[in-house]
Amino acid sequence: MMTDLYQSQRAMRQMRRQAIQRGVVAILDVGSSKIACLVLRFDGAGRLSEDNSIGSMAGQTGFRVIGAATTRSRGVQFGEITAMQETERAIRTALQAAQKMADIRVDHVIACFSGANPRSYGLDAQVDLEGQLVTEAEVGRVLNACDVPDYGTGREVLHAQPVNFALDNRSGLIDPRGQQGQSLAVDMHMLTVDSAAIQNILRCIKRCDLELAGVANSAYVSGISALVEDEQELGAACIDMGGGTTSVSIFIKKHMIYADSVKMGGDHVTSDISMGLGIPAAVAERIKTFNGGVHATGADDRDLIDIGGDTGDWEHDRRTVSRAELIGIMRPRVEEILEEVRTCLDAAGFDHLPSQQIVLTGGGSQIMGLDGLATRILGQRVRLGRPLRVHGLPQSATGPAFSSAVGLSLFAAHPQDEWWDFEIPVDTYATRPFKRAVRWFRDNW
């Protein structure tokens, strides 16, 4: 089963390489409130600089956004697909608009989603080196030696990234290849999700005549784009407040070490308003966007909001609500979400990290006064994060709601090494020499 996953992820990686060679790939952020699609064009240039630092152009010189479109998401709840047909239609809408803007046909899609109950595992392994030198095969061997916990049936590994290498007594190595030593140890972060969610996304994309060239967790990719480089290096948590879920990811030394999601988001705030005031969800969303907040002041009592209606009853259609009332509805729900996030961070042991930086991003982070509220619940060092600037991104897609789409673009351009990027050591196959020969043949021809 492990080998199956290895093969399918490798196939996806291969597909991604093909797409980049062709030069065009689509980025699809399947969210609960909106589906965003970016079309990237790769120009071939833009590798990282010699010392592997990000550099002045933030490492995203290699591609350009040539098409962007968003559409209201339907059939996605809590970041998971619940109605295939609806989701497929929404994906089609976004993709068609993005293709139209890019004026080019896209065949490969890299998708991310936030739900599907992500769960993090920390793995480690240690092997004695066969030679003195750490080679790629040795890295593959130590990765393969990791003791994988039983993560349950019906779940699949989405990410498996080596986070830290240790050679003899030296730890904190990013890339041990070419170094001398006796024994090599690795710490790996593994993220599993429900396999049904991946299968659903895969099927939706297949039905749109596209090929899936990669899947990522949106907590991870929004961390890539919303955290600045030193935050990723020193340790920070990225909280992506989406429509249906709020996802949490913790980064240190430029690697994600933890990800989780809270099944509450902006849509719940909207539905609270809708229920509390007895108005349609669309109106509630509008009121939340334009007049929402989490800190009531004296002036808010006098600030009356027209909530309207379409019944024909004059009294009913002329209803108003004060902003203080609105804040009174929103605040408990936002507090609840942040409390849940706090629980997640505590479970992950975030308070043991050297840096306590917290970055709020996602569409939900645009609630006025949220940073003040988050400071009280999560800790002192909270800031609002917006995605990195990338070439060609339209102004309408630069808001925090697009941090996972932009992060996915960065991920597509410069993916981190994953477990399946290294060759499985040959002795795993030793029992089946014929299969090995076939595989060698397929790899080389």
Binding site: K34, A69, R72, R92, A282, R286, S396
Partner: protein, 335 residues
């Protein structure tokens, strides 16, 4: 009274825009975010396809079609292929009818003829310069042109080749002169020698080419005579020998080609100078030199044989030989 004409546009009294969602900003479906008018005010718009749908999703067909149209290769093929296809289909349909094909070919022929038969291109007569009357008639006979004729229909090269193929013609130029005249300039061959064969008497020019067959040698008494098979191939040599033998005056009867190999110079009184194959004029000069000093050819000599250069031989006639024998007998008896 001023007629009632509208002087400004009608003012529209819009309803106050209702509060609607803009959650789907930037998705390009601006139509659905507009406030919806009352049912009775929407009029025929509600009969339009997808009017009440509010769903910006493209149909599966239109999605596929758009993807197809965004494929670069397909677009290129469409851009080039469609006009070519339409054009070729149109031509094929047009030319599928026999009548139209004929009409077009007739039209082309008609235009061609009307251009070719313009007076500027017509040739009315043939002028022949440099040929005698007989030759002119011959030329007119071998070039049977039916004037007036368009110059497009004439093959001047072929006419020239035909004229040059005539025996008495040495060279010819044929051109169409302004004014519609086919100008033929001919240079005739000059007969320099008469060649007698078993089949008759012919005139040859200085290269040995046949000029004309004549009835009698006497008609061209001033030209020297040659005879023998293959003599026409060595006319320059014959002329050289004859010019060398000029000092013999009218004693020369002619030259005979012997065995297609060498010449005999035939004089009157049955005398004959047999010349060698190589350098015959030189050998003849030797004979003439001897003749100058010793009056060789005035004597009773039948043949002067110069065929072997180291051993010139003479043959006396019978009377002279007998007389020589008698002289010897007398001399012997006298002693």
């Amino acid at each position: 009274m001023r007629p009632l004409i509208a002087t400004r546009a009608l003012e529209e009294h819009r309803a106050k825009p209702l509060i609607v969602t803009d959650a789907d900003f930037g998705s390009g479906n601006g139509g659905s975010s507009q406030p919806k008018s009352k049912f009775r005010l929407r009029g025929l718009g509600q009969l339009r396809r997808g009017a009440g749908r509010g769903d910006p999703t493209p149909s599966r067909l239109s999605y596929r079609f758009q993807r197809l149209m965004l494929t670069p290769g397909f677009r290129k093929a469409l851009r080039l292929g469609t006009p070519i296809f339409v054009l070729s289909m149109g031509l094929a349909v047009f030319f599928s009818s026999e009548d139209r094909r004929n009409a077009i070919s007739d039209y082309v022929v008609e235009i061609k003829t009307s251009i070719q038969e313009r007076p500027e291109f017509m040739v009315n007569l043939m002028a022949i310069d440099g040929a005698g009357t007989g030759l002119s008639e011959d030329i007119r006979e071998v070039v049977p042109l039916d004037f007036p004729l368009s110059s497009w229909d004439m093959d001047v090269e072929k006419i020239r080749d035909t004229i040059i193929a005539l025996d008495p013609v040495k060279s010819a130029t044929v051109r169409i002169r302004p004014g519609g005249i086919l100008q033929v300039d001919v240079v005739e061959r000059e007969p320099v020698i008469v060649w007698r064969t078993r089949r008759g008497v012919e005139l040859l020019d200085e290269t040995g080419a046949h000029v004309e067959r004549i009835a009698a040698r006497a008609d061209f008494a001033d030209l020297p005579l040659v005879a023998g098979k293959g003599a026409d191939k060595h006319v320059p040599e014959a002329l050289e020998i004859l010019s060398t033998s000029r000092s013999l005056g009218d004693r020369v009867r002619g030259l005979v080609r012997v065995g297609e190999r060498r010449w005999d110079l035939v004089l009157d009184r049955g005398q004959r100078i047999m010349l060698p194959t190589e350098r015959p004029a030189r050998a003849l000069e030797r004979v003439l030199a001897v003749n100058e000093v010793q009056d060789l050819l005035e004597r009773d000599v039948t043949v002067v044989d110069m065929r072997l250069g180291q051993r010139p031989t003479i043959r006396m006639n019978k009377a002279a030989s007998e007389e020589w024998w008698n002289t010897k007998v007398t001399v012997n008896g006298g002693q």
